[in-house]
């Protein structure tokens, strides 16, 4: 079997890798703790360049105005982003926001996707809530019809990219109980809409997010994306794509972490010799390299099943993210340990990379949640 990238994906990988390498100082600058306060949380100029390079377009199918959009296109892009620890919100604006508008939107709403691909528009998915943990169906926020409009009330938790977003995609329940899949709708809400307030903050692993309060937020019915109460399937689908991307991003970060560590072991001298010459450390490095290849295969499995049945997709992505959750934690912790104190400093590149790896486990379901999902889907 041939596991090589196609020529197009190879070109995409090469050009993106070159661009990210050439701009690593700027990329690093927006990862520093504290510097992302009072800012977007990322570098707007870099964002524009990514759009120019076609990186955003590569995440959408031709039908949706892009030129690729398959599982392996996502993994090609996100692995590269992960290798440099980029905090640019491609996951939020493009995969989640853009993906959901492309899936559910009217022709008029879909014009926003063109703007996303051009790099002119930012989006954020306001779905998680303080009590929803990682369960997609737990929606307490309400949407009530009022005359010819709709009124939203509720609170959304840790909405990544909310402050930079031109529109928030807000989920709310029109019918049913808190944990029901049916009855959830998505609404396109301009960020400056009255009744919407943000409490923004930096994230430990870079970027920014906000708590979003919705208080009698009034929308016209045309703000709804798709059928009333019928957004769950699309949310699930967009989340699965985001999880494939996130798994690939984490894989890229794991590659970077092990490369940095390998170099360090070969360079760092203690007791008169490079520490790579100590067998105790050699074996640990070997374990990491084995786990890294397992992680790579898990990402391939997940990406290759994005167009299969919902159950098969879900099973594969749960498997990949459970494996990467375990292997990622091992790689992050061991790479720090094998370095010693230097890797504990914010200045050293591994610190940020390690945070990206570990904190990825806090999006869309952690290692244990993925294990539960895998068990559920295996039984289905």
């Amino acid at each position: 079997m041939n596991f090589d990238l196609t020529d197009e994906r190879q070109m995409l990988q090469d050009s993106l890798r070159r661009f990210l390498r050439d701009n690593q100082d700027k990329l690093r600058a927006s990862t520093r703790l504290g510097t992302s306060d009072n800012e977007l949380g990322f570098d707007a100029a870099i964002w524009g360049k990514l759009a120019e390079l076609g990186v955003i377009g590569a995440l959408f199918s031709e039908e949706d105005g892009g030129f690729a959009g398959a599982g392996f296109d996502l993994t090609t892009v996100f692995e590269e982003l992960g290798r440099v620890g980029a905090v640019e919100p491609l996951l939020d604006t493009a995969i989640l926001g853009g993906g959901l508008i492309a899936a559910l939107g009217t022709e008029a709403q879909k014009e926003l996707v063109e703007q996303v691909i051009a790099g002119d528009l930012h989006l954020a998915l306001a779905h998680g809530e303080p009590n929803s943990r990682y369960d997609l169906a737990q929606v307490q926020t309400t949407a009530k019809t009022d005359g010819d409009g709709i009124v939203l009330n509720g609170r959304k938790a840790v909405v990544i990219n909310a402050e930079a977003a031109d529109y928030l995609l807000v989920s709310a329940r029109e019918t049913g109980d808190v944990g029901d899949e049916a009855g959830i709708s998505l609404f396109l809400v301009p960020r400056d809409t009255a009744g919407l307030s943000l409490r923004g903050y930096a994230l430990l692993a870079g970027g920014r997010a906000a708590e979003v309060d919705l208080e009698n937020l009034r929308l016209s019915a045309s703000a709804r994306l798709g059928e009333a109460g019928g957004a769950y399937a699309a949310l699930k689908r967009a989340t699965v794509r985001a999880e494939v991307a996130l798994a690939a991003e984490t894989l890229g970060a794991m590659e970077a972490a092990t490369e940095l560590t390998r170099e360090y072991l070969l360079t760092r001298q203690q007791f008169g010799r490079p520490i790579a010459s100590f067998q105790a450390l050699q074996h640990r490095m070997a374990t990491l390299l084995i786990e890294l290849e397992q992680a790579r295969s898990a990402v391939i499995n997940a990406a290759g099943h994005l167009d299969t049945s919902p159950n098969e997709q879900a099973l594969q992505i749960a498997a990949a993210r459970n494996l990467i959750g375990r292997a990622g934690r091992l790689v992050a912790e061991e790479c720090v340990q094998l370095h010693g104190g230097i890797a504990m400093t914010e200045e050293y590149a591994l610190a940020h990379i390690a945070k990206r790896i570990v904190m990825a486990d806090h999006r869309f379901g952690d290692t244990d949640t993925q294990l539960e999902r895998f068990i559920d889907h295996s039984a289905a």
Binding site: L33, G34, G128, P130, N131, R133, Y134, D135, Q138, A157, V158, G179, R199, Y201, A202, L203, L204, A205, A209, E211, Q269, Q270, F271, G272, A280, L281, R329, E333, V336, Q337, G340, G341, A343, M344, T345, E346, E347, A351, H352, A354, K355, V358, M359, D361, H362, R363, D366, D368, T369, L371, E372
Partner: protein, 384 residues
């Protein structure tokens, strides 16, 4: 002890410790002052120097109670690292001068051991002290100097004989941080904290009376100090408090409509950590009892360091898992005790920063790899 802690430990202080907020210099000094007023600041010191002269078991009980009450930790550099060395090897003048100032809080000490090129291989340190008349002139760089930004004194290992075998040419010097030629540069850690520093020495003149013991004998004193650093090395009290905090948070976090504590996967992780901790607690007591009976700890303290830090780190991992998505926000003001509230449930702001910060536990104080080398060397001999 419980009564004292209930009455004298300020509520705002225990609250800060419970949710993982920084205390700052004043906070630590205040707590030291409260303990000193009670006569309990130096549990390990002999009575002749103003200490409690408690044995290992008594000290253990004290440490456990303090952890349980969420008391701030006692800053160890002066009290349990330098003081035992001065008491054993220092001159009468040094003892009379420095020890009371450690108790009163007049001096804040920091440790000048590690260097950029001398971490696990500490004996390869290069900071040079050259005797010129009644002074040493010190040049070089120390690193990972914990809370050096608060310190007015530093105890240092310096090389006084560059020609001797590595361990033999090292001396133990006390240096006033206000001496010209000393520069403290902050190191920001991966959780955004300023906890450690680089300390640079350029032609720093140190009076010869600041030498502890004999010249070129510093390694012996440092090793003696390291055995004292090993008290409470297992951190059982921290682990127990940490595990309680994990359970507390997990009870309030809903997962699939039930409290997270009822989730079998999460509950299994917590149970495994608790099982390890129960055994660790007894291992710790066994070794402490031996120490109280006068037996010098050998490989056992290395075992406590390795397993104790692994358990603490596992509990930090559980804490960040419990917080879910609310482990992601970084609200530095909430951690520093400012007005900005936490974003998620109580205590959630600190879980991920602490998880990352406590990766240091298996690195500092002799990395866990060095501890395993010690165990292997004793048990397997030269073959290790």
């Amino acid at each position: 002890m419980q009564e004292f802690l209930a009455q004298k430990l300020p509520k705002e202080m225990s609250e800060a410790i419970r949710v993982g907020r920084e205390l700052g210099k004043e906070g630590h000094e205040k707590w030291h002052g409260i303990l000193n007023d009670q006569g309990w600041l130096a549990p390990n010191w002999p009575e002749e120097f103003g200490g409690c002269e408690w044995n290992a078991v008594q000290r253990h009980i004290f440490e456990e109670e303090c952890c349980r009450a969420h008391a701030p930790r006692i800053i160890p550099f002066g009290l349990s690292m330098l003081a035992p060395v001065l008491q054993k090897f220092g001159s009468k003048e040094q003892q009379d001068h420095y020890l009371p100032r450690i108790l009163s809080g007049e001096d804040w000490w920091c440790q000048g051991y590690s260097e950029p090129g001398a971490g696990s291989d500490l004996a390869s340190l290069k900071t040079r002290a050259v005797r010129e008349g009644d002074h040493y002139v010190v040049n070089g760089q120390k690193t990972w100097t914990t809370l050096g930004q608060y310190a007015n004194w530093i105890f240092c290992l310096v090389r006084t004989d560059p020609d001797a075998k590595q361990q033999s040419g090292i001396s133990f010097l006390l240096i006033d941080m206000d001496t010209p030629g000393i520069e403290v540069r902050p190191i920001i850690l991966l959780d955004g904290t300023h906890e450690v520093n680089e300390v640079w020495f350029t032609d720093v003149k140190v009076p010869v009376e600041n030498l502890v013991g004999e010249e070129n004998m510093g390694w012996t004193y440092a090793k003696y100090l390291l055995t004292h650093e090993r008290t409470n090395i297992a951190g059982v009290g921290f682990s127990r408090a940490g595990l309680d905090a994990v359970k507390h948070m997990a009870r309030s976090q809903m997962h699939r409509g039930k409290p997270l504590t009822e989730n079998p996967h999460f509950a299994a992780r917590v149970a495994r950590a608790e099982i390890d901790l129960m055994a660790m607690s007894t291992t710790n007591l066994r070794i402490i009892s031996q120490a109280a009976a006068g037996q010098a700890p050998g490989v056992e303290s290395s075992m406590l360091k390795v397993k104790g830090t692994e358990i603490r780190q596992e509990i930090n991992d559980l804490a960040r898992r419990a917080a879910g998505a609310y482990a992601m926000p970084f609200v530095s003001e909430a951690l520093e005790g400012g007005n900005e509230p936490e974003v998620g449930p109580e205590g959630s702001a600190a879980v991920a920063p602490e998880y990352f910060n406590n990766r240091k536990l298996s690195i500092f104080g002799g990395s866990n790899e060095i501890q395993k080398n010690i165990i292997a060397k004793v048990k397997l001999g030269g073959g290790a």
